[in-house]
Symmetry: C2
Subunit: 279 residues, 2 copies
């Protein structure tokens, strides 16, 4: 069987950085936790737990030691509590998310009403809103929702880092009809679209697609959907053990990709397992 | 014959203001000229000439007295010469054009490369460029031209005041693919689109359309084109005398509109002439 492994499979820049910071911090601090799972990979979270990094859901439950801020950031209010309690901070917020937070805050400070393109309930979006400290922020999922925006003298537009460029463009278009001044910061990280485009290409060539990553990872689930639309024989697995030999009958080429929070070692195990079956 | 006269026929805000300023100045200053025709209405220009306002093409040819700056403005270099020669200035630049000049300059001063949506050779566009004093300004007519723009860290977008909103939107869309920050000032004056939309409506109802205005007026010529596409019996006239009775055989309703530089008295004469023919 021929194996086509995506170059863009696995950790994006921000996740790689967060994971490295977390492993380093595990060695450095005897009393350490992460506020929520550091990334959406149960395997990485489990390995970190074995090294002493507990996952705590609410900041109010942390009273001492060090705390790791996960890649999609936390809210300003959570950060306030961390400061009040004099906890040691390991800030693994993705630098692209940080930029989106900074631009939204800058826009509010300069008198813009902010339009944030993204999902209302996503922690990244909640974080971005919180740093504007009560500035006027409208979260819109798409141009349809943007059409319901009120008119404002100055509109500033930022996006959740995983949004599609087309969506940002369409929302910005609508905003131009709502304000005499529209200032757009393209805060989208293109790792997502690069990974999706490569997955599409491979899914067209392969007889079967394996998409590796946490079942709780939104970007991996979306990646699997995209592949499935092109290659119905697409399987979303978390680990190599979940792969079934029966899937491969009559299959000559296998495409493999992985979500942004899938560690290298899991991808390697998947490749190894598929190679072994070929023999 | 029923006459349908457009509410938006004739002088826009900027032209009305410029004309009033010119007539007042003609009374005030014994030695006065305008730099280029004050508006694109030969009749208004002729009346002003009779009151002593000479039309001078080149600023170098004015050595004393007062000079009227016409509604679409002049270049920074021309203004420098006027200042050097200590000429008295009557600034009839349309306030909307002034805003476009100011925003382009502000954007350049704040480090943006400017994309100016408009016609390269139009005096308004030449004026806007000049006030940036050597800033980076790209003039693009439409999104096709915008696609050839280079990438820049910050792009600022302004428009010639008579551009269509759709064109500004399409160019802005393309700019978003060229820069991580795009700041758009919608400097379009909606007088043009309001007048065009009303003309379309009337052209659909009337058996014949009269479009009144200078043959050298771009906006009047465009207005006549728009009407002609809907009502082939459309006539572009400069004065009431040019109207021919033969046009009206079998006509029951006449629509009348006029360009932004057409004075009220000429519109009134046209209405009068058509009314007289009805009797």
């Amino acid at each position: 069987m021929k194996i086509i492994l995506a170059d863009s499979a696995g950790f994006c820049f921000g996740v790689k950085r967060a994971t490295n910071l977390a492993f380093d911090a595990a060695d450095e601090y005897p009393n350490i936790c992460s506020l929520g799972p550091i990334i959406h990979s149960p395997q990485v979270v489990k390995t970190l737990e074995e090294k002493g990094v507990r996952v705590i859901r609410k900041v109010e439950d942390i009273d001492r030691g060090a705390v790791i801020i996960r890649s999609h950031g936390i809210t300003a209010e959570e950060l306030d509590i961390i400061h009040e309690r004099n906890l040691k901070i390991v800030d693994a917020t993705c630098p692209f998310v940080k930029k989106a937070q900074d631009y939204a805050t800058k826009l509010c400070n300069e008198g813009y009403s902010v339009v944030l393109v993204g999902e209302k309930d996503h922690p990244e979006v909640q974080g971005i809103i919180s740093y504007t400290r009560g500035g006027e922020v409208f979260v819109v999922a798409d141009c349809k929702e943007a059409q319901r925006l009120p008119s404002r003298p100055k509109l500033g537009v930022v996006a959740q880092t995983t949004q599609s460029f087309k969506n940002l463009q369409q929302v910005s278009d609508v905003c131009l009809g709502k304000s005499k001044e529209v200032r757009i910061f393209n805060t989208i990280c293109d790792a997502t679209s690069v990974r999706q485009n490569e997955a599409r290409k491979i899914a067209r060539e392969a007889d079967l697609m394996l998409v590796v990553g946490g079942f709780n990872s939104a970007n991996t689930t979306r990646l699997a959907q995209i592949c499935q639309e092109i290659q119905p024989k697409t399987f979303h697995v978390e680990t190599a053990e979940q792969i079934k030999e029966a899937w491969f009958s009559g299959v000559e080429s296998v495409g493999i990709t992985a979500g942004a929070s899938t560690p290298r070692w899991i991808i390697d195990q998947v490749v190894e397992r598929v190679s072994a079956m070929s023999k």
